[in-house]
Symmetry: C2
Subunit: 496 residues, 2 copies
């Protein structure tokens, strides 16, 4: 029998998640005993400094940047290499203890919460950039390497890794959650940019999804294991290395901003820009509420209307043409105040509103917390869903300025919520479920880039249908028959 | 216990493949009885015209365009809709009969051979283009729709589907084999361009890998089932619909050709073109032997040396810059005879050698058959592997001109083989195994785009390692526990 978690409410209000599962040590007393037995083995694997039972450390590893409540693990381990990860996993396997991988904790759907207790594998000590091959446009990194650290490392090579979810996340964590962000319209998401993964499975065995050390730019050799683990949110294995595609740093960049009379005109412009073959690098949408918040927060004076923030990458000459074509398209759709800039400082100033959107939203209601919804629909459905969502926000008496990766049809309401107000939390929960169902009714998905985590298991079931969920469960059972890997995420648990 | 198929030899010489499997009706007499029992059920599902037991039709469906020997199915069915596919699959499931999906039969690794007999599902009667959404850049097609048919259908929309493996293959078949081809360097392979699949599983159940009717441009909702079925070569289910990404037809195109003193200089140029951010649409390599063959076949006069064929897509203005940058790069690497053309007729003439490469290779030895190898390595390893491979060809006394999608590190030897010469066949077999192992030793793959099929099961095992193969086998067992779906492909069979 399946049941809904309705996590927003439960997690925000601190109610205990009721999870049932088949194989892990689920009784608290039994689990504590198993942890006690395992701890000395953990110590012998990664040393005295490689393990922590302290409350503060456990609390710190029990939550991400979302509003999902903290679920601390029983113990945190800090392996230094894949062999240690494997050895630790074998101990967990032997004692039937849950394993929860932890990168930087910048997730947005509660993916690191130890809802069944168990062992958090913090991978921060594995922070080496390995095997850079500039001429092959690829690099391999350990899970402690963040995207900013990688790009700093690559600084003098003429190469960069463009996937940018905003946070300075671990690249292996980005692979685990199938992250994307503002550059996806041109460079793709993690799905298109991961070439190979090293993964430790629940029983401690180490596999390489495309074969050890392999890094061809394309392959049709057997089942695509790489993309099975990308987006698996730690529920199938621990990603201990990822090989990534790199790109040449563009010769030049131009940023631009343009206001529109309505969402429809902003989206129409986006479709026409893509159809014209403009290789746009970023095309971000902010609604009037978001722009107003940004104006207040950063003392800007943008027109309070639907706005596109754009970025173009290319040669000096091609940029002129890209900007000119784009300006023509925006003007023919009623766009006004088209501003653009080439030098880094002015570009940064122009995009300030977009970069500060999260903080600008928070500043609307000091003392509140933020929760970002995340749906994605076909481009043509964006105007309708945004208009309906804005009406719903007003009717629900909620604050949720909208920012979106409009080139992908992906957008977020940055919900600003008073966590001490149960009535408001209830309204937020109902609103986010309606928003996701609105996306599903428009051929879209309940999550474009944040993942399912704790929050969207019931919605995933609605999105996929029972048979596809059965297939997913079959894959999970094949790879993790004891349900040790990050239990309670993505798939709902079956009650015995 | 696993054993090697060494298929090149066995299939070319007509020796029976010895396959053992666990659940399908494997004894010929038992299987014939099962087929006899199933036939009336098949007839009641798809009518008298929807089933064929004739030898000619069965032979036609027992082989693809490779040199793998014909393995005819016991019966061919021609369903007209997914419901019929599902009903037919249920009958097969009930009678434990193998199911082999058949698109256009243009595969190159023997993927349609009924090595365990069974029922071929020819999907040619399901040939509708469905649900075109021009403003969302997506379309859904049935498995009888080929890539040329789709692009003809799209003619007046300003959109096209760019993945081009050469053959006019079924788009669902291209999804099943993870096809790519000449445009992949810019537009990606099928992996990047399939948004959703409708699949009939071995038990007849119908699933949608991204949820029914869904078509967001990106998603992180649960396990990536879409990319599990892309490249699964009919071994996990029958693809009955695929939703594809479309692109705006470029405003203009330019083709170019350039000769180089050595493979190294041609590859160095490729790396520098990519690093410079030139959004090259095609960059194809032909070696001196291939160029010589093309010159003879098409009365051309290209310099008999390593040659790049290039194609640029974009606006008129951007093309000028792309061509100019590329010409500078090729010249700085010793490239000569840089020719380029903008109008369709001259472009076609310029690229004639590349387009006719297959026939030019065959014309080297009239009466012979062609067999295309298919390996892919990191770009920087291309010069070494091509040089070593050319030496090997000479030492092995074999004819195998080389053509490659050099932007991806993927290349083919177009082996021209006398099928009546067992010694030559033996040398071809040993050569192709050495070539694949050379690619594996250079961090590459034994197949970039043709798939594993019958020919590369042992090589796949070497490429992935035993643990990753176990994971693949676990996924296969989870989705097709009776091993009914296209048995004998991708994974080697376990002997009881």
């Amino acid at each position: 029998m399946f049941f809904s978690l309705t996590p927003c409410l439960r997690l925000l209000t601190g109610r205990r998640c009721l999870l049932y599962c088949r194989s892990i040590v689920s009784e608290n007393s039994d689990r504590r005993a198993a942890v006690d037995n395992a701890v000395s083995a953990f110590r012998s694997i990664c040393g005295e400094d490689g393990i922590s039972l302290g409350e503060a450390v456990r609390e710190q590893h029990g939550k991400d940047e979302s509003v999902h409540r903290c679920c601390p693990p029983d113990v945190v381990v800090f392996p230094r290499c894949v062999e240690e990860v494997s050895a630790l996993a074998k101990v967990c396997h032997q004692h039937r203890l849950p394993i929860i991988p932890f990168g930087t904790g910048t997730g947005l759907e509660g993916g690191v919460g130890a809802v069944k207790g168990g062992v958090c594998f913090s991978l921060r000590n594995m922070d080496q950039v390995l095997d850079l091959h500039p001429e092959d446009f690829d690099v391999t990194v350990e899970p402690g390497v963040t995207r900013k650290a990688l790009n700093t490392y690559l600084r003098d090579t003429g190469l960069w890794f463009p996937v940018d979810p905003g946070a300075d996340a671990s690249l292996c964590g980005m692979a685990a959650t199938s992250a994307s962000g503002t550059n996806a319209v041109r460079y793709g998401t993690m799905r298109e940019n991961v070439v190979n993964l090293e993964v430790v499975l629940a029983d401690g065995s180490i596999i390489h999804t495309a074969g050890k050390g392999r890094r061809p730019r394309k392959t049709s050799a057997g089942y695509n294991l790489t993309n099975l683990f990308v987006g698996s949110e730690g529920t199938l294995g621990i990603i201990t290395k990822t090989t990534l595609r790199l790109y040449g740093i563009p010769e030049a960049m131009v940023s631009a901003v343009c206001s529109f009379p309505s969402v429809q005109e902003a989206v129409d412009s986006t479709v026409q820009i893509l159809q014209a073959g403009v290789p746009i690098a970023r095309i971000e949408f902010l609604d009037d509420v978001m722009i107003d918040a940004c104006n207040r927060f950063s003392s800007l004076s943008y027109s309070v209307s639907p706005t596109l923030f754009l970025e173009f990458h290319g040669s000096e000459q091609s940029l002129e043409e890209q900007v000119s074509t784009t300006e023509d398209i925006t003007q023919s759709n009623g766009g006004s105040d088209f501003q653009w800039a080439r030098d880094a400082e002015t570009r940064s100033r122009l995009w300030k509103a977009r970069h500060d959107a999260w903080y600008a939203a928070l500043a609307l209601r000091p003392g509140c917390k933020a929760y970002a919804t995340d749906v994605c629909v076909p481009l043509s459905r964006l105007p309708q869903i945004i208009v309906e969502t804005k009406e719903d926000l007003i009717e629900s008496r909620l604050t949720g300025p909208i920012a979106g990766h409009v080139g992908d049809g992906n957008f977020h309401c940055l919900m600003v919520v008073d966590p001490s107000d149960p009535d408001e939390l209830h309204r937020v929960h109902l609103f986010t479920e309606r928003l996701a169902r609105r996306a599903l009714a428009m051929d879209g998905t309940c999550t474009g880039e944040h993942g399912v985590g704790l929050g969207k298991q019931a919605l995933l079931r609605e999105e996929m249908g029972p048979l596809s969920i059965q297939v997913m469960q079959g894959l999970k059972d094949a790879l993790d028959p004891l349900n040790l890997m990050n239990p309670g995420k993505i798939l709902q648990q079956v009650e015995l």
